[in-house]
């Protein structure tokens, strides 16, 4: 949040909303109740760091690993993959792989 302002308006909490149950979830565990799971390949050079941070789904013969990242927002997944600085690649789902590719295209324009 960039800024916040208290208004002179009050509200009635909705009974179906339970903020405590949300807080007990992803902010503590880092795991979002996800609608999608991406499979992401991690290079051999970075595999051991990934093992520390995430569940490894597959180990490959060259030392690389495949991890599963639950996600709701594609933007978040794209940032996570970009932050691996080329040592990660989305394998599936196709639309997530495409989203990273589109972000990389924009980056290529920026760095030239």
């Amino acid at each position: 949040m960039k800024t916040a302002e208290v208004l002179d308006v009050s509200f009635t909490p909705r009974p179906e909303v339970d903020p405590a149950s949300d807080v007990a979830g992803w902010p503590s565990t880092g795991l979002v109740e996800a609608s999608r799971v991406a499979r992401v390949w991690i290079s051999p050079e970075r595999a051991r760091w990934s093992r520390e941070q995430r569940e490894v789904a597959l180990t490959l013969a060259d030392g690389s690993v495949v991890v599963e990242l639950p996600y709701k927002g594609t933007d978040w997944l794209v940032r996570e993959v970009l932050a691996e600085a080329g040592d990660a690649a989305v394998l599936s789902p196709p639309e997530a792989r495409e989203a990273v590719r589109a972000a990389v295209d924009r980056l290529q324009l920026a760095v030239r």
Binding site: A24, G25, R79, G86, L107
Partner: protein, 512 residues
Amino acid sequence: MTQGFAKDTEKLIRQLSLISYLMAERRPVTATEIRRDVEGYSDMTEDAFARRFYADRAELDALGIHLSVDKPAEGFSEQENYSLAPEAFHLPPIAFTDSERAALQTALTLLDGEFAYAEPLRLALQQIAWGRPSPLGSDSRQTIGLGITASAGGGEVSARLAKIDTAIYRRKRIEFEYHTMGSDETSLRRVDPYHLLFEGGQFYLVGYAHERDDVRVFRLSRIKGKVAYATKAEHDFKRPTDFDPRGYATRADWQFGETVGTAEVWISERIAWQVERHFGRFGTIAKAQDGSGDMTFTTEYASVRQLAAWALRLGEHARILAPDELVSELADRVELLHDRHTGELELAAVVPAEEVDEVVEPAGAKRETAIRPERFARLVTLASILIQAGRANERLRFTDVCEALQVSDAELREDVAVLNVVNFGGGSYVLYAEVHDDGTIEVDPEPYSDNFARPARLLPVEAKALIAAIDLIGDHLPEGALNSARDKIVAALGADPMEQGLQVASGGGDYS
């Protein structure tokens, strides 16, 4: 009188009786008088007394309770005089305002049960809340939930944390096997531990590494196996007076290690405010002169990859401007990203997964917190709770006291039995407490219970826990809400525990 108790318990009784005696006497006393009058010493031979008394003093010293020793110019140790000034044992009163108390209540309730130092924190709060509802009491109007954790992260790391915490305080050199991620190698390390740092959800040890002849930072989760003391000496080193732990807590991911250069990074107006807020302290900001709202962020770096990774995460809203090696590194990595997201990525063969035995925690198992305060601290806190109730002529509910101190039924009964035996000088007892069948505790405070009727100084681990908790929460609440409470606590302690072994660092940034 102390027969029937285990050796460790006899020692606690002896130490508590010694403290009670010294504070009651209000004058320096000789070792001879101590041996004659204090519960637990009178049956000892001269040699045994000399050894035990010396050991007890050393242990009390390690707990932060410093006996004054007045040595004559010449003479034998029996002619030394010992005293314990009240201010060496008691905490000065801390006058929290209602808003400070409310801030403490909010902040510290949030951490209960999810903090490696939870148990000493609980005891610290009992002491500083003296005479008022504990800040850990429930608040039905609580409107904030906390989603961060400062747990030690599992049984093994918890055990290491406890050992290292003690080693720091006792200035003991330690040895452990450590896995270095960079080289992917595990080797034995011999370290003088100076400080613990909690940052980004991980505990780190900062200490002098003998193999490297330099100060190094070790992540506790990368220590393999147990941490052991390197020697049997009482102390192994002195922390250098010019060691400043704060320097290790104010570094970005790309600044760990020796600085190799200074980078300039263009940041678009779109995210400039966010970068300034979360990363500004890791460098300097220069706003663009063209009024665009863009800015240039200048920062020192030790790791090319980490800085490139940080910039890439910001997408097209960041661009490295200098130096050239960094610009070209970033371009190479963008190329790599492009290649790996074009066409089909060829993967090596899958290695079959080995079967791993899962360790299943029993349902309802009490969560193991990392740091157990000394039982001594718990007894002192219990004594003050009991005496306060006795003076108010009130009975306590047994279950309430168990809950307040987080002890079992059996532990509390034994603690009460121990306190009933603390005495000195011809039957001068501190208190008498009786557990009734109706689940209440009735307390008769004795004349010498005065000494426990005021809050005791926080033990080093309790002070560390309290300030660490405030620092952990404070970063996530509006600035100022806990700052004044923290200042008062530090003033009462006489020193900032953060500088003496544990520091909670501000988060390095929020990417969400």
